[in-house]
Every structure is written in C-alpha cells, then in structure tokens.
C-alpha cells in the first residue's frame, strides 16, 4: 500500500469532517431521544454507516411502523450505493476479496465522490495507489462518524435550530458535485438529475432518487455518444 496515496486521500477527504461532525452528532442525539441506549445507538452507526437510512429507520420505528417496512424504506434510501459499487469496479475491482469487502463496508457518499473525482483526473494512478487513496479518504471520515455519534449520544443535546445545520447536508452534496462537472455531458446529466428528482419526488420508497439518477446517467451517456459522433463526422468531412 502506498503511503503517499493514502495521505493524499486523507487530505482530500478531510474537508468533509466539517459536515460529518454535525450530522453524526445529530444522529446520536435523535437516537437517544427516540429511546435507544448508548450501545444501540453506536451499534447502528457502526453496523450501517449510512446516515440518511439510519434517520429513516429510526423515525419509522418510533412511529411504530412494522420492522420490515422500516427496513425496506431504509434499504431503498441506500440503493444508490449499488451504483457507486458498480462505478468503482474499474478502479478497485482488482483488489483481494477481503479488501473489497472492507471497501464495501466503508462505501459512503463522500468517499465515493472524492475517490472517483481523483481517479478520473490526470495524472493516472496505479491500481495499488487507488486502493490506498480510497482508504485514506475513509480514514478521514469514518472515525469522525463513530466518534461524533458517540459524543452526540453522550451530550444528548440537540444543536440549536438557529444554526440550520439541516442545510449542511445539501451543501455537502453540492460541494461534492461541483468538481464532478467536467464536460457538457456531465452538466447535462446533473441538470436532468435535478429536474427529474423534483418530477419524481412523489414516488414511494425514495425511488424518485433512483429513477432520476438512472435517467441522468442515460442522458449523460447519450450526450457523450452524440458528441463523439459529431466529432467523427467532422473528421470525415
């Protein structure tokens, strides 16, 4: 494992600690409010490490929804990660099975976005460096996730609503998206995703997100093919 690549990953993942801290603390507080004890709160954060789905599951359980309903709703929130998993295959698929399993456990939005953004930019990385870089990113994010869930659960005090920390989540994803927009097809895909997410917001089980993302991927891919065809025609002419 390359040390340089690991620390570069750490450095590139570190800004997201800013977001993970309030978000994980909030989970700790909300979980204790819902009546979970310390062990339960921490078990959920460690076993699942996927904030949005944990909030979903907790809210539904608190409303006395049947367990399988809460489970399916929370899993639907995480379905997007299957797309991350597929997108990481060309970069990380070479690793050993155990390493791939560990990378899968640690696959959160921030690590995926930071890593893919780096992999697709010059200079190209060696396969071993890609793995090291990925773990570096997660080394920045994951301990903060565990640690501040615990702190939130211990303090048990909500962040004052005047701080509008709910907005930290969208801002985080906006900060993740901006550097990914590198070409016209990327911009088009992002625009389709934004629009379609509003159009399909009414779908149950957070499926609107999934449908919007699939449409956006199609739009991006088709735009890229169209640009390639045009370039070829120009060359031929």
């Amino acid at each position: 494992m390359s040390r340089g690549a690991f620390w570069r990953g750490y450095r590139d993942g570190a800004p997201f600690i800013l977001i993970v801290v309030p978000y994980s603390m909030l989970f700790g507080v909300v979980a204790r409010d819902a009546g979970l004890d310390l062990l339960q709160t921490m078990s959920m954060s460690v076993l699942v490490i996927a904030g949005a789905s944990q909030f979903t599951a907790l809210a539904l359980l608190k409303d006395q929804a049947p367990v399988f309903v809460a489970l399916l709703a929370a899993l639907a929130v995480n379905l997007r990660m299957a797309m991350y998993s597929a997108a990481l295959v060309p970069h990380l698929g070479h690793a050993r099975l155990g390493t791939r399993a560990l990378m899968a456990y640690l696959m959160v939005d921030q690590a995926f976005a930071v890593a893919v953004n780096r992999y697709e930019r010059p200079p190209p990385m060696t396969p071993a460096d890609k793995v090291a870089y990925y773990f570096g990113c997660m080394m920045a994010i994951c301990p903060a996730w565990y640690g501040f869930t615990l702190l939130g659960a211990l303090l048990g005090q909500a962040v004052p609503p005047e701080l509008s920390l709910d907005f930290a989540v969208p801002v985080c994803f906006i900060a993740l998206t901006a550097p990914l927009i590198r070409s016209l097809p990327h911009a088009l895909a992002a625009a389709v995703a934004a629009l379609a997410s509003l159009v399909f917001a009414g779908l149950p089980w957070s499926l609107g997100l999934f449908v919007a993302a699939l449409l956006a991927m199609l739009a991006g891919a088709q735009a890229e093919l169209a640009l390639r065809r045009r370039a070829r025609r120009r060359q031929a002419a």
Partner: protein
Amino acid sequence: MISDSAFWTLTVLLGLGTFLIRFSFLGFLGRRQLPDWMLLHLKYVGVAVFPALVTPLVIWPEATGGEIDPVRIVAAGAAFLVGLRVSVVWSIFAGMGTLYLLQYLAG
C-alpha cells in the same frame, strides 16, 4: 418506545442489507472487465445521484415544513458556484455563510 427486539432485528438486517448493496458489483464482479456500454453510463453516477439527492432538500426543506425558502436556494447556488470555481472547503463555507448572512439580514 422502540422495543429491543424490533430494534435489533432492524439494525442487524439493515447493516447486512446495506453491506450487500455496497458489496454487490464491487464484490461479485471483482476484476472482470465491464462492457463498454456499462462503463459509459457509470462515468455519470456521481453527477446523476448527488443532484437528485440534493435538489428536493433545497427546494422543499424539512426545516421550513416543505415551504420554498428563497434564502436556501440562493445559498445553495452560492455553494455550487464556489464549488465550480474554487474548492470543496470554500464551497461549504460559501453555502453556510450565505445562509447565515441572508437569515441575519432577513431578521
């Protein structure tokens, strides 16, 4: 009150299910070469998922009970522009800073 059995069943199954979702392609396909059409689409996963996740949160924020809040839309725009031009860290500061500033000005 959440019962212990409901909690543990849910948490263990959610942990397992989430792991399987994350493991799916990376775990089972491994070093197999993906077909070109799939690679073409996978290049757009990031720009497809994140805007779809964010847009409803910005347009219909839970904190306002789903009411459209111009302050949040402007703050989101600021975060996006700064993210395009400058960096991730400044994008986060620009987004939250604009939100606080406008909320303060609006009283």
